[in-house]
């Protein structure tokens, strides 16, 4: 009986109906009877706001980096790929590298942990190696298919050949440098930033999509999306950027050698 009597002077903080003796919740609306709980709700609203602000800053950094890289591609595209000298390409990739290194340096504490040696035991290492080989086979198959379909692929080697630059320089500028810069940008800065906002799996997907569209070749969107997933996965498993860089550089080198020697 006692429990069903109203307690004088106490009202539900939400709907103002009188509360019963000893009630923890309002019997009319289900709100917690303790006014402090309402306070908690308010605090939570404030916390949501702070979290939103933090995440928005992170997204802005990603938009800024992506926008700068896109802008440099636009500038290179507008001044035109010169077929007689690779200098415009060299200058733009140096600018890209400067942008990415400046970004990485501005938040070095996020990137530093990724610059340690890869962490993987023997089993894991073999598994990832198998993944890398499967990846190279898949990409080779896709590109062979595209070539067979008669869709032209931009030849990067023509300007180098016209200027008389050797294959060593070509591999350095078109294979190794982009591998380092792109891994640092997408698997380093963007994926790390996204992981704090969205969680691992969505971060992996988003960075792979950003990586694939930034190459500006509609035919390469699917292949580069898979590339992005593969490199991102390597970085997640080994907690290091080096395996991804190695695989990326080897694939690029393979593509260049294919272009120079086998066609």
């Amino acid at each position: 009986m006692d429990e069903l009597t109203e307690q004088p002077g106490l009202h539900c903080p939400r709907c103002q109906v009188p509360l019963r003796t000893g009630a923890k919740f309002c019997s009319a609306c289900g709100a917690p009877a303790d006014p402090a709980a309402i306070d908690t709700e308010r605090r939570q609203t404030a916390r949501d706001g702070a979290r939103f602000a933090l995440h928005w800053i992170g997204i802005q950094r990603i938009i800024f980096l992506f926008g700068l890289l896109l802008l440099s591609t636009l500038v290179l595209g507008m001044i035109g790929r010169d077929d007689t000298t690779p200098w415009s390409e060299v200058v733009m990739s140096v600018i890209d590298a400067v942008i990415v290194f400046a970004f990485a340096a501005s938040r070095y504490w996020q990137i530093l942990p990724l610059l340690g040696p890869p962490q993987a035991d023997m089993r894991e290492a073999i598994r990832l190696l198998a993944l890398a080989l499967a990846f190279i086979a898949l990409m080779a198959g896709y590109f062979a298919l595209i070539e067979k379909a008669g869709i032209p692929i931009i030849r990067v080697s023509s300007s180098f050949e016209a200027a008389g630059w050797g294959i060593g320089l070509m591999i350095l500028i078109d294979a190794i440098m982009p591998a380092i810069v792109e891994e640092l940008a997408f698997r380093g800065i963007i994926q790390t930033e996204l992981e704090q906002i969205t969680g691992m799996r969505e971060a992996l997907l988003i960075q792979a999509a950003l990586f694939s569209v930034l190459h500006l070749l509609p035919m390469m969107f699917p292949s580069h999306f898979i590339m992005g997933l593969c490199f991102g996965y390597l970085r997640q498993r080994t907690k290091s950027l080096y395996p991804g860089m190695l695989l990326h550089a080897s694939w690029n080198t393979l593509a260049i050698c294919q272009e120079v020697y086998w066609t």
């Binding site: 903080p13 103002q16 949501d48 507008m78 906002i197 969205t198 950003l210």
Partner: protein, 267 residues
Amino acid sequence: MEIRWDLDDNTVIDLRVGGFRKNRLTINENEIPVDLTLRGKNGYSFQLPDGRAATISVEPQFATRPLVELRIDGNLIAPTGKKPTLCAGCGTAVKPNDKFCSACGHEMPPAEHYVHKRYVKEATGAITLLAVLFAISGPLMYYLTQLQSQPLMEKLAGMDPDDTYPEKIGGDIYTVSSLKAQLEWEPWSALIVNLILAAIMAGLALWGRRAPLPAVLIAAATYAVVIVLNAIIEPMSLAQGILMKVLIIVFLVRGIKAALALRAANG
């Protein structure tokens, strides 16, 4: 804009802010004397007739409707929408702030639920807009490219297919037949690329209902890349429809912010 909150059977709050008529806040048609402005984020506190403390916060947004929130004793109150709120259990129209459905007793979601739904709609709305635009511009580009190449096609029709075309195009020499093939292919490639983009955006919009943030981020990046690709092929295209582009980018940024707000609220 005007917003109405049906608090309970005998309390209705109306807010009118922005637009050409005077800003005002009323409870059951009685005006509350507060100084409503759209300059910066503002909070207004007042008392309901039954003594409960209410606050309305008004936060202006860039190029879109301001963000308005009503809280009573710290609890978010869902505004009354244009469409009636339906019970998820039996489909009967209920009041937006009912705790339970009066027809079947089904428990109604809290006001936050409706706010989240609006966020998701905002985020996916931008992507849907892009899908529709690409779907429209596909056939349009097809006809425009065909129209553009028509004079040249007519000229080529009278020439021997094995001849080389007398002028260089883009620095390259074409034979008449290869130039013809190129011109026939161009409208189709414009159509196909636009339709593929429309399909990608439609897919992202669908996925966006479950994962708004990745979907809207990928859509925004893809759109930016499409603009840049077009600008590389034809620099003048950067200026074409610039208002539309700015509007779409505003929508996309709004979508990203809505998706972030949703994620922050869901923790």
